[in-house]
Symmetry: C2
Subunit: 494 residues, 2 copies
């Protein structure tokens, strides 16, 4: 039976993915500093084995044959995702992938070096090379998938979202935010004029912060028997569903940013931990995509962790671990601080979407050829001044050289961040409709109803449906900006 | 060129071995408790890929063809080790290996359960099954290698050692120890009557003990940029040469046993760290075998760490980290404590070889059929009373159920421990002949000459020669018991 062959292949691929995931997490946390070269060699060889096994020509025959077999509904769905994975992995010729990998690696290395030096001119030719290849890639993926070129790129990260569907939603959000950011800033200024920000500074031992983080992770539902918290330079969520590795970094002078980061990664981790175990070796059993993943992390960070009700429960826990006593009036202005800036990853939840929309607009034009890399600094600066009133014309390092995504060839990825934020708000609203007392629960540190809703509507679905389908089934309506803008108005508005 | 095919195969196998080694070390140190099942699945699948790739039938053709190619001397030696690995891995039929794996796993599981219950009768049938299979295995390996059955088993762990060669050496040592153990005990009793043992008890924070261990590791030559120290239930040396993972476990009431364990694993680690890097993907580049490996760990633990001169340098370091001040007169009676006991892994360096010789004698008879498992408790007890004056007749859990080796099917492994102890003493003597002031160096914490000798004579040789050949080249004579017995007489004698 051909489906059985796919099933067996799934087990082999899962083992290699397990090794790659743990080796990757280990590299960032526990590896000896001199172990990198051999680790890179080993991971490249394992990734090569995975790619060869996942793209073997006979798989096309197995898929085709399996489509003629009598399969359960579950197997049929699994088969659809086997096909999706196979098509996405095989639609580019090997020769092209090798050329592209070389160009991306070279551009990323240059980026690491030249961003620090604010050297746009030196970086430009490498970025132009990557963009030329991404245009070729988009055309080939479009052909294979029957999608528009930019949609075909997005499809890798976020199955089912189409520019034609998300553009109106993001446009509406942009229009809202261009008016709302000044409003939120005015509200904040007025409040801070009355009650100045009380600093949260102090000396917080790393071990204490770690214990606090672990206590919050456990409380919101992270399964500590199937995951752990470590330290790394860049926080991430990695590992495997049976052993999810999340990381943070600590400053001894400040605890809030690390703690919010821990909650964010906890959201990613809970998605992985609660995927259906019986499908773990099938593409069907994987998390749906980057937007859905980000909706899960942002849900825990923003809908829970930055929710005022959360701090009713959290403040005593913070005091217990850090030995300092703050009121909600002390801490919420920090938790909700709005500060327009140049850097996306440092942005608050009000201004963050404008960073993403800027990139979404520019990268569509880069892929279509309407915009060329040489014109990026001006285009970026124009939008930045328009959306946030800030200029990057003299600091390309904080403009188009800011992120690793483009040098790394990841076009079509950026929308996921803000789609995730809107999805999280819409999920919260659907949950609140079903459990009107959810804020009371949160204020008492009771997250069971929240977890049940998320397990039933998101996690258990894995890749059964496309991202928009899962959203519509979970919330009863198509993704829209209304819940997110309401959320912002309630939290930051006049 | 066929040699090139073997070379490329070596790179693939190295990547899988890298993954298995890091996943194995991770499992014992950083894995979440619930991650074991999926980890076992992944590792079994990766081990299966490794085995299939390493035993593919076409490799036999490549080896044969390569033997007709014009190769450098280095390539010829590499080819010899490719053949040795291939022969050792393919001389058992797959059907047999599967049957044996099942029997071993079942017997190991039973052992874990029944040893705690002292239930020999319940354990016996499983052990009989394993022994029946090991007799079959020995016959097949003997046939393939042209060796005697027991030698063919030893060959897996310790290439080149033959029972006919090591038996006289171990017999001489046994004769010596049967007289020497009582002498050493009398000397110790007399000394302790004069100066009672001063307890080293106190409260030693784990972090302090860890820092002390790291300081000693670095001082004796462990490269901390290519390895690390963690905690695990059973101490081990794992990982890969570019990133060697050693572990220990701590008691807060006592520091010496953990510290000696760290030095032991440091010895294993330094061998791995200093293997020739250009051969890392060939069997030739691997450590020679278990006896040689144990000689390296025992060298650091016994020749260095339990050397009185070592404590001239080490005591101030201990004081600096643990804040307590002892004299050599306080600490050496602990470092050199002799105490006959039932348990091999707890034994001191004087009585340890008798535990090994007992097993070496019994397992030869088990393999040949002269002895059957049913008669083991009596046979074990008789030797235990003869060698150490202790009885295990009522406690099989501390007799033939003591070790995991036999339930796990590892016959021919035990001699490595004591061969390693003798090899370490003989290496030290050869080094001392070349550097008569080596004890002065050690007393000053200078280990350069020691490290240089070991690198040149042992580590850089990897698997270029058999174990006895490496020893003879390094020390100028065949392995013999004289250096080890001198070492014991000097340290423990009247
Ligand atoms: Zn995230
Ligand atoms: Zn050892």
């Amino acid at each position: 039976m051909s489906f059985t062959k796919l099933d067996q292949l799934g087990h082999k691929l899962e083992a290699l993915e397990h090794a790659l995931a743990i080796l990757g997490a280990d590299e960032a946390t526990h590896m000896a500093v001199g172990g990198g070269e051999k680790r890179a060699e080993a991971m490249a060889a394992l990734a090569g084995m995975h790619h060869r096994q996942a793209t073997a020509p006979e798989i096309a025959d197995w898929i085709e044959a399996a489509e003629g077999e009598t399969l359960s509904e579950e197997q049929q769905t699994a088969l659809r995702e086997f096909r999706r994975q196979y098509t996405n992995m095989t639609c580019l010729p090997t020769e092209f992938v090798e050329r592209q990998t070389t160009a991306r690696m070279r551009c990323e290395q240059l980026w690491r070096d030249l961003r620090a030096k604010n050297d746009w001119a030196g970086f430009l030719p490498a970025l132009e090379g990557v963009i030329a290849l991404v245009r070729e890639e988009a055309a080939m993926r479009a052909e294979a998938l029957g999608l528009a070129p930019y949609d075909a790129l997005m499809e890798q990260y976020d199955p089912g979202h189409r520019a034609a569907d998300i553009t109106p939603v993001l446009s509406e959000l942009k229009t809202f935010l261009k008016g709302f950011v000044p409003e939120a800033l005015a509200v904040q200024e007025e409040r801070l004029a009355k009650t100045p920000l009380r600093p949260l500074s102090g000396v917080y031992a790393i071990e204490r912060q770690r214990e606090l983080g672990l206590a919050m992770m456990a409380a919101v539902g992270f399964d500590l028997t199937h995951g752990s918290l470590s330290v790394s330079h860049h926080p991430f969520c990695g590992g495997v569903p049976s052993d999810v590795r999340i990381t943070t970094r600590y400053k001894t002078t400040e605890f809030l940013s690390s703690l919010m980061g821990v909650l964010h990664e906890t959201g990613h981790a809970m998605y992985e931990q609660n995927l259906p175990k019986q499908w773990s070796h099938w593409p069907l059993g994987k998390a749906r995509g980057m937007a859905m993943h980000e909706s899960q992390s942002l849900f825990v960070e923003k809908q829970l962790g930055r929710n005022p009700a959360f701090w009713d429960w959290a403040l005593p826990l913070v005091e217990q671990h850090l030995g300092e006593s703050w009121s909600k009036a002390d801490i919420l202005p920090h938790v909700h601080l709005v500060k327009p800036g140049l850097i996306r990853v440092d942005a608050d939840e009000v201004t963050y979407p404008l960073h993403v929309i800027l990139r979404f607009e520019l990268e569509q034009d880069l892929v279509s050829g309407k915009l060329n890399a040489v014109d990026l600094p001006e285009a970026w600066d124009a939008k930045m001044r328009d959306y946030l009133g800030l200029s990057t014309i003299d600091t390309p390092q904080d403009g188009p050289m800011q992120d690793v995504h483009w040098p790394g060839g990841a076009f079509g990825y950026f929308p996921s961040y803000t789609l995730g934020a809107m999805m999280a708000a819409q999920q919260w609203a659907a949950l609140e409709k079903q459990h009107p007392a959810v804020n009371d629960d949160v204020a008492k540190g009771r997250f069971d109803a929240v977890t049940d809703w998320r397990r039933q509507n998101i996690w258990s679905q894995a890749s059964r449906f496309s991202t928009p389908e899962i959203m519509e089934r979970a919330t009863g309506e198509k993704l829209n900006a209304a819940y997110f803008t309401s959320h912002l108005k309630e939290r930051y508005g006049a």
